[in-house]
Symmetry: C2
Subunit: 147 residues, 2 copies
């Protein structure tokens, strides 16, 4: 779906939540192939048994990818990604865990180009136990409505 949501239309505290996604062994295998990251943390069940976390864990880049994908449903034609801040992987995600994302508008600021503003989305990813597994801030460069 395409829409035009200008800077002025974002309200701090505005909240949306996504559908869930179960992280499967297939996701990890595909992600290893796509990234080239075959570290034993993700690929070697026997080595993982010797580690504190005991089981294969999803790549951080996989969780980030799925989390951003879960939020990608509405195309705002007057907004673009400026970047991400404070990306943290706070707990491991295991095969069979189900994650979903909560997005909260947490800040609005001016930009050096006066026709744009910066909107910050707080992106929080939870597992099926409502434990936080990933968090970051997504910065959006959003057009201001012509006066």
């Amino acid at each position: 779906m395409f829409l035009k949501k200008y800077f002025e239309a974002f309200d701090i505290g505005e909240l949306r939540t996504t559908m869930g996604r179960t992280i499967t062994e297939t996701d990890i295998v595909l992600h290893a192939g796509q990234s080239g990251d075959f570290f034993p943390h993700h690929m070697d069940e026997e080595w993982c048994k010797t580690q504190p976390f005991k089981k294969r864990i999803a790549h951080g880049t996989l969780i980030f990818t799925v989390a951003v994908g879960l939020t990608a449903h509405v195309i705002n034609e007057v907004s673009m990604t400026y970047g991400y801040e404070r990306l943290r992987f706070t707990r491991p995600v295991f095969i069979g865990d189900t994650i979903s994302v909560k997005v909260t508008i947490s800040n609005k600021a001016d930009h050096k180009k006066p026709q744009y503003g910066l909107v910050t989305e707080l992106v929080e990813v939870f597992n099926q136990y409502q434990e936080l597994v990933m968090v970051c801030e997504h910065l959006l460069l959003v057009e201001k409505q012509a006066q």
Copy 2:
């Protein structure tokens, strides 16, 4: 390869560069399937012709994934990822572009747990024209050598 590189062994300015990876149409298609992000910026060649960038562009999460994967060759058993800061996608990456990564140790700092230190890697991703396409800071929590 496994090794143990303690906090004290990291030097500011230390540099490594990776092999290159050509970003293919297959990468974009697989990444759309894995992420669920089928935005027209990545999937709709005809819509892209109406946009300033004219051609399908790689997902930011794909470039981040491949960049991190390119750096994932040596497993430091006394280090773990703490997070990422200031992730920016500075130019679009198109099908057929080849990216490689330059990693520079840019900072070392204490951590509240005295047996650990924080190492910052500046991660810069360049295309085949040596143009910067992505940049971020990778924070590592690294054990200090037992005194």
